[in-house]
Symmetry: C2
Subunit: 457 residues, 2 copies
Amino acid sequence: MSEEIENIQFELTDDLISQVELLIEASDDKALQKLLKDFHYADIAEILDELNLEEAVYIIKLLDSETTADILMELDEDNREKVLRNLSSKEIADEIGELDTDDAADIISELPESRKREVISHIEDEEHKAEIEELLAYDEDTAGGLMAKELVKVYETWTVAGCLRRIRGQAKEVTRVHSIYVVDKKDKLVGRLSLKDLIVAKSDQKIAELSNSSVDYVNVHDDAEDVAKIMQKYDLEAIPVVDDNHILLGRITIDDIVDVMKEEAEKDYQLAAGITADVEADDSIWELTKARLPWLLIGMVGGIGAASIIESFTGYMGDFIILLSFVPLIQATAGNVGVQSSAIVVQGLANDSIDGNVLKRLFKEFLLGLVNGLAIALIAIVITHFLFKTPYNVSLTIGLALIAVIIMAALIGTFVPIFLDKRGIDPAVATGPFITTSNDVFGILMYFLIAKLILGF
Amino acid sequence: MSEEIENIQFELTDDLISQVELLIEASDDKALQKLLKDFHYADIAEILDELNLEEAVYIIKLLDSETTADILMELDEDNREKVLRNLSSKEIADEIGELDTDDAADIISELPESRKREVISHIEDEEHKAEIEELLAYDEDTAGGLMAKELVKVYETWTVAGCLRRIRGQAKEVTRVHSIYVVDKKDKLVGRLSLKDLIVAKSDQKIAELSNSSVDYVNVHDDAEDVAKIMQKYDLEAIPVVDDNHILLGRITIDDIVDVMKEEAEKDYQLAAGITADVEADDSIWELTKARLPWLLIGMVGGIGAASIIESFTGYMGDFIILLSFVPLIQATAGNVGVQSSAIVVQGLANDSIDGNVLKRLFKEFLLGLVNGLAIALIAIVITHFLFKTPYNVSLTIGLALIAVIIMAALIGTFVPIFLDKRGIDPAVATGPFITTSNDVFGILMYFLIAKLILGF
C-alpha cells in the first residue's frame, strides 16, 4: 500500500497534451478514460484549458458528470462559458446536479438569462433545485452569494447518540463537515459544536450541554469582503449565515473566502498598474486593449495638460531653457511619490489597519515628504550644479521644486484614497494612472511657478 | 439560550479604549478581567495595539496565558516584539506552552538569538519543547517552516472502534481535526480518512479498508509558496508534510496558507508601487523613508539621465523647441504602458497561468502596442496640430514617437519580468519604478532620435 501513495506534483507537459489530442482524434474513449482516471479534476481542467473547444467538449461529454462538474468549476471563466454554450440545457443540469449549491448557483448565474430557466427546469432533484433558486436571489457580493445550503444541523434537544445517528445521513451530502450547527425548534441558530466534541462526548449527553453558544455568524446580506475579513481575523474555516431573525440559512467555507481574497488582491494590483476589468495575460488583444487604453488616454490628457503649461512658460524663459531638461525628473519624482503614498493608504484601508484621523495622517505624510524631499533635493542640487554646470539659482530652483513636488504628491496620494473611501468609492481606483497623471500636471505647474518666482523671468 | 448568541461585529471605539485605560490606571484588575472576558482574543489584540506599551504589558500579565498566547499571535509584529521584550523568559515560555507548535516556533524565531535558548529551556513540557526545536530548524519559507506537529495519526492495522477510542486522546490536543492520517508501522504516510468517514463506518471495520490511499502531501523542504498554490488548486484545508522517506512529520492548515497568500499579494503590490520591505501606514517616518527613498533615488537616476539626453539635443533644435513641451506626454505614456505590461506578466507568473513561449508573448505585446499606439498617436496628431498649431511634420514626429515608445515599453515590460523569473529572481521587483525609470529614459531618447530623423535638425 505504501508504494501506491500518489505524488501531488502534477506537471502539464506538451507530451501529455498531444497524447490526449491523439486519443480524441482516434475517438479512443477507453484509452482516454483510462489515461484521465487517475488525474485530479483540477489537473484535467488544466489540460482542457490547453485544448481547443471541440476537444474540451469531447472530454466533458466523455467523462462522468461527477468528475466533469468539478472540472467545469476549475476551468478558466472564458473557457467554461464556451464549453457550456456547447452543452444542452439537460447536460448542464446533470452537471449541476453533482455540484454543491453554491457552485451550482455560480455556474447558472454565468449563463445567459434565456438559458438560466431552461437549465433550472431540467434539474431533477426538487430540493436541490429549490435551494439553488434561493441562492440565485442573492447579490453575488454578499454572504448570501457566497454561502452553500449544504451543512450539518442538529436540534439542541437531541442526545449525542441520536445526533450521531441522524447526522450520518446529512454528513454524506456535505463534502467537509467543519462545524455542526445547533438550532432551536424554530431553526434559529443557537450554537455550534465540532465533530471532535461529538466524538469525545458521552453518548447520552444532550446536545444543549455540549453546544458552544458563542458561535460566530454573519447576516445573509453582509458584504462578501467583510465576511472575508471576519473569517480571516478570527481564523474561521466556516461561518454560518443567518437571516434577520437568526434563522440558519447556509454556511460559507474558507475556500470560497480564499477566492474572494485572491480576486480582491488581483483587482487592486491591476488598478494600481492601470488596467481596468479583470483581464489575464492570455486574453485576446481586443480585451486587453479595452482594459488598457482608457488609462493610457487619462495619461494622455495629463501629458497634453503638461504640454500646455510648458508651452505657456517657454516664451518667457530666455536663458533658463535648461529648466526644460529637468521636467522629466520633476515628473518622475512626483509620479513615484504619489504612487507610493496612495498604495500604502489603499492597502491600509483594505486591511482596516489605518487608524487616527485624516489630518494626523496628512501631517505625517507632510513630514515624510519633507524628509524624502530634502534628501532628493540635496543630491539634485549637487548633481545639477557640478554635472550640468547650471547656475546656483537654477540648481536651487530645481531643489526647491523637488521638495515642493514631493510634499504635494505625498499629500494628494494620501488624501484622494481616503476621500474616495469616505464617499464609498473603492480607493484602489485612486492608485496608478489617476494619481500619476494629476501629480504630473500639478508637479510641472509648481516647478515653473517656483522657477518664475526665484529666477524672475 | 437563543438570546445569548453573540454578534461577531466588534467595533473598536475610543470609548472602549479609554475605559480600558482608566481601569488600568486604577489597577482595577477585577473589572478589567470582567470587561475583557467576553471579547475574542483577536479583538483584545486590536485593543492592545491601540494602548501604550506599559498598558499592553499590564493586560498581558493580567490575563491567563491561555488567552494571552493567542492575543500575542494576533498583535502587530512590532508591538509583539516590544511586549515580549518586557516579559521574562519564563513568562514567554508559559505563553508558548499554550500555543500550537507552529505558532510557538514563529514567536521564538522572532526573538533575539540570546533569548531563544533561554526561553526554550523554560518550556516545561518536554515533548512540546522537542517539537518546537525541530520546527525551528526549518527555513521559514518552506513547508517545514509552516507546518505544525499537532495532528491525528492512526495505524492502518487499527479497527474503527479502537481508532475512535485512541484518537480521543490525540484530538484533544489538536484544535481542528481536518484529516486523520494513516501510517504504517514505520510511521510512513500511507493514506488518510476524515472524521466523517470514521463516524459513518461500522465500528469493527479495519482502518486499512477505509483509508484513502490517494492522499496529497508535500515534502518538508518544499517552497511555502508552492505549498500555497497546491492547497489552493486542489481546495485542500490541510496537507500532511513528509520527509524524503515518506515519514509523516506534520501538517499545514489552510489558515497558515491564507497568511502566506496575503503577505505575497501585499509584497507584490508594494513592489509595484515602489515600496521595499514590509511597511504599514502606521510605521515610523524613519522606517517608511527607508522603504521609499531607495526607489525615489532610482527614479532620480532616470530623471538625471533624461535631463542629459534633453540637454544634448536642445542646442541643435532651433525652431523645434516646441518638441520639449511634449516630453511629459512621451514619458507618461511610456511609464504607463510599461507598468501595465509588466503587471499583467507578473500576475500571470504568480498564478502559473502564463503559457506559451517568450517569443509568442512578445509578439502579442508587439501587436497590442501597435493597436494602442495607433489609437494614441492619431489623437495626439490631431490635438497637437489643431490645439498647439504645430507644423504637420512635428505632429507626425510626436505621433510616430508615441507608437515607437508604446511598443518599446510594452516589450520591455513583458521581457524583463519573464527574464527575471527564468533567472530565479522574483519578477515583482521588475514592476514599478524599475520599469518606469528605464522606459522614461529609453522613451525620451527614442523621441529625440525620431525627431532628428524626421525634422533633420
